[in-house]
């Protein structure tokens, strides 16, 4: 299925390769480089590239291209998902998935890849199970290993796959039994010039960290389960029970996992937590332009908007900007023409604003496209869709676990047109 994998950094060096089915020469990547050159921006490289004998399927994450070489008729989504899984695994193992991290841990990388695929077919991809086969490197363990000469490899096979519940290993034991759930919602929106919503959607996930002894059976119920549109579950969730009672009932995997992801789309009205007042104008023939942005909260149910960052890509004719902000710092990069304003917390009593002038290249007509404004923010203790967990119960074990639920809302692709 997957013949080879090449890791390519953004300057076009192949810094790691691994072959499974047959050795495919590095020269196959020339087709990829050609496409990369044509795309001029790394993000625009098409994910599927045909070559005379193979197809190259690539994903671009953390400034690295993961290029899989496939030969036969393969479902493309399968390969792409697998590549993303590889990246996730690296992140899981090394904290970040950067070229440096991969090069430093080249041995673990090879070991992991070897276990993930055999003959080009995916084998062990659950991070739970992988980690038992190959223990992730930690600073402490590296030190211990150097002294004692012991290894990173687990010397017994993971028993997980032989238990009745394939995603959970048997004989889990904890001194403190805890179960934490994070409800994280990302809001994607496009707001038009006049401030009305062109498109808005909430993508939510519930990530769990469960450290419970034995074989606990959990049920989680919501105050308003009808809110959820498209729900997709971790395989542990009993689907029938959800369909009939709208209750999540499951035996959790051990450790961190994603319990479910969902969408709340435009059918239910999506609340927009911030608004932007803007006035960006270029005058024909003048060498000055006005730039003015004010950001304020709305529909936040009394919670504070934090970590606010406003970025905007300005037209090429802008040479420099001279701005003053009432709060936070701003930077303007004259090469990429990106202005970025780090606001932090928004105080509803004193709205932050950024005003000033732009100096423009003289003699050029005024740009025909107005810049877009992208906003990032975070709101703690609020799920913007209004989703609320009702209760969490545990069956099958005697002890009383510690339970916790946290809500958070973040901006996804939140964009304001001017």
């Amino acid at each position: 299925m997957i013949h080879s994998l090449f890791l390519i950094n953004s300057s076009g060096d192949i810094f790691l390769e691994k072959h499974w089915k047959s050795v495919v020469s590095r020269s196959v990547c020339d087709y990829f480089f050609e496409a990369q050159e044509k795309a001029n921006e790394s993000e625009n490289v098409p994910p599927v590239i045909p070559t005379p004998h193979h197809f190259l399927i690539s994903v671009y994450r953390d400034r690295i291209f993961f290029v899989a070489v496939i030969q036969s008729e393969v479902p493309p989504l399968f390969v792409i998902e697998f590549l993303h899984r590889v990246v996730d695994t690296f992140q899981d193992y090394f904290g970040t998935c950067s070229e440096v991290a991969i090069k430093d841990n080249v041995v673990v990388v090879y070991e992991v890849l070897e276990e993930m695929l055999d003959n080009g077919f995916p084998l062990a991809t659950e991070s739970n199970i992988l980690k038992e086969l190959i223990r992730p490197p930690t600073i402490l363990r590296t030190v211990v290993n150097t002294i004692t000469g012991s290894t990173n490899v687990g010397d017994h096979l993971p028993t997980g796959q032989l238990s009745v519940v394939p995603w959970r290993r048997t004989g889990v034991r904890y001194a403190n039994n805890e179960a934490y759930f994070d409800v994280v919602e990302e809001i994607d929106a496009i707001i038009d010039k006049s401030g009305s919503t062109v498109f808005a959607e909430i993508q939510g996930v519930i990530d769990a960290c469960v450290k419970l002894t034995g074989m606990p059976d959990l049920t989680l119920s919501f105050m308003n389960p009808r809110l959820l549109d498209d729900v997709s579950f971790h395989p542990c969730v009993r689907f029938k029970r959800w369909e009939s009672e709208r209750i999540l009932s499951f035996i959790p995997p051990d450790g961190n996992f994603r319990l479910l992801s969902y969408h709340v789309s435009s059918q239910n009205l999506v609340a927009i937590p911030v608004y932007v007042k803007h006035n960006i104008s270029f005058r024909d023939g003048s060498s000055m332009g006005r730039f003015e942005i004010t950001v304020g909260p709305k529909q936040t149910m009394g919670k504070t908007v934090e970590g606010t960052v406003v970025t905007s890509q300005l037209p090429k004719v802008v040479l420099n900007m001279n701005l003053t902000s009432t709060q936070g710092n701003y930077t303007f990069d004259p090469v990429t023409k990106v202005v970025s304003w780090d606001i932090g917390k928004i105080n509803p009593q004193k709205l932050p604003s950024l005003k000033g002038t732009m100096s423009l290249q003289t003699g050029t007509p005024k740009p025909d496209e107005n810049p877009n404004i992208n906003i990032q923010f975070k709101i703690q203790q609020l799920a913007i869709s209004g989703l609320k967990v009702n209760r969490l119960d545990m069956y099958g074990e005697k002890y009383k676990p510690f339970k916790g639920i946290k809500y958070m809302t973040k901006a996804g692709k939140f964009q304001v047109r001017t």
Binding site: I14, V48, V59, H234
Partner: protein, 749 residues
Amino acid sequence: MPYYGSEETVKELRRSLSNPNVQADRLRYRNVVLKVIRFMSQGLDVSALFMEMVKASATVDIVQKKLVYLYMCTYAALKPNLALLAINTLRKDCTDPNPMVRGLALRSMCSLRMPGISEYIQQPVLNGLRDKASYVRRAAVLGCAKMQTFQGDTEVDGAVVNELYAMLRDLDPIVMVNCLRALEEILKHEGGVVINKPIAHHLLNRMKDLDHWGQSEVLAFLVRYKTRTEDEVFTILNLLDSFLKSGQPNVVMATTKLFLILSEDFPNVQMDILERVKGPLLAICTSEYHELCFLGLCHTREILRSLPGHFSGHYKKFFCTYSDPNYIKYQKMEILRDLVNDENVQQILEELQTYCTDVSVELAQMAILNIGRIARTYSERCVVILTGLLGLKQEHITSAVIQTFRDLVWLCPQCTVTVCQALPGCEENIQDSEGKQALIWLLGMHGEQVPNAPYVLEEFVDSLKMETSATVKLELLTAMVRLFLSRPAECQDMLGRLLYYVIEDELDMAVRDRGLLYYRLLQQGVEEVKRVVCGPRSDPSLDIISGQANETVNAWTKDFNTLIPIYGQEQWDRLTAQKGDSLEILQLSAVKSDETGTNPEQREEMVLDSGSVRLKTSAHLSAEQFEEHWTRLEAAKVVTLDWHKDPSPDAIQSAFQFVHIQSVAISRRGAQLWKAYLFARNETGSLFLIELLIAKDKGDIQVTIKQENSSEELLNNFTTVVKSIIQALDERLDLEYISVAAGEECSPN
């Protein structure tokens, strides 16, 4: 990359590897091995260390073992003799008490990729199949497949195949999926693993135990299963229903494909399925990973081919955000274009309009072209928008708008007046030749409605010397002649200058010939020119557009969840055609007429069994025998087909040969009464005789088929095969014919 100084490095590494002090210290030994691997991964050739590395594999340290195995797998093909030394160690490891070591050794041994290895690995693999640890069994099952690859095209070992089929019942789900994968590879030449009823039901029952990679693959295998009864279909649909809402995009896609194919005969059920899959598919389209979005969008377009309105209610999901990469924006725009209906047309047009001013030139032009496509149904609104864009006076925008206008005027003549009003002034903002061509064409065609048309064209005529593109010049000639007919007084002088320049000074042959052609035509008198240049025009493209919508769902289900939706059928054929030889294309197109929408591999199978006729690959019949049979048998079928070409014996012979129909005798090209005699034998020994007859100047071909053992069904199947080939040949010969005709003209007779 340290390619330089590699010899020094290798020498040093060798010294450390063979140093007994290092070997005694486990930690130091491993670190040296690690260093070797590091160099290897940087692209340095360290194959010279093979001997030392083999020695290093005899250790209790698993990490070191892994590293050495990795090294061996990389270099074994280069050093087959030395690799044999390693095999002993590996075989010993295959009996290690630790299952992990056993599995590892088995896996590495099977990946050594060198000739002659199979005799050494056969026994360990067979032992591995019966190992009690599932980890080892997994490796062993795939090992069987690898072994088959080493042996190349030798006989498939029946015992192994049976063993693998039996192991489909293994307790470990991954072993089961690996069995399927291995069987698929081993039996590749026989059409892959066979899914019969017990296997299919077994797989269905095991589905929930599998990881999602396995699920998606099993779903793909289940597509092969032919259900017997309606009940069975619905049982399977019910059983797998929850997978349609799986969290994994690949499982969703695989399930959708399986469902659509299962319910092939129930269009209503198919609609239900597509309705249910809408949510998950939209979720893929808005996924956080661009690559997944892209493929989701490609498949959405596939669905829109048969259900144009399917996602209309969700059109806002396809609005582009600033951060989307271009390849996603292209897909989204095309989807938006297809989703337009009376309710959302306003919003979609407004959205597309904002893309028209994008920084990326290609993107902006694409947006304009897409507005042009919408204009075919909502012409008034779109023309207003397009005219507005002209006001921006940007070169790439103006050029794209004018090109869109050209197509629009051709397809929707009712907007001609508005378009013509917008034209004046555009010529200042057009620099590229496509835009110029479009503008010139418009001015020539509808010059009578544009007051300053002659003066615009005059500028082009005056700057002709500077023009580099021959197509622009050709277009200018035609436009000038056309405009001359409608406004002779203003154009006469200009046309004269143009013709003079073209005939006297032009270097491009085509342009000069065209100039001469018009010059001679003008000598025939104005009436004659009018008759030729402004003859009645037909709009064949209109049919194509109206006929484009609403294909059946079954037309694309087989391609769903493959690479084809990314490229579209036509481009895919072109891509794969480059890979196969040209004969294959001919033969593919021959079958295409009755089997559209199968992927190339499936089509190949189709041909080999030629619609269940199953013709023998090699059959012999001498001319005398043929004659004897021919006179003895009655004509079983006589059909007459369209035929416009002069037949080329070689093309016909090779085309028929590809579906295993042999030729006995063929007349030479250009004969008054052209005849060809062909025959074929199918696997049961039934003989078919064919006569092709073309009388000159008749425009059809008469096909007479005779059959030895009469069987109605076989005969019908055979006739369709022959027909489709002839039709394909008829279409394909076009080009060839032209080139041959041109060749004959040049020859002395």
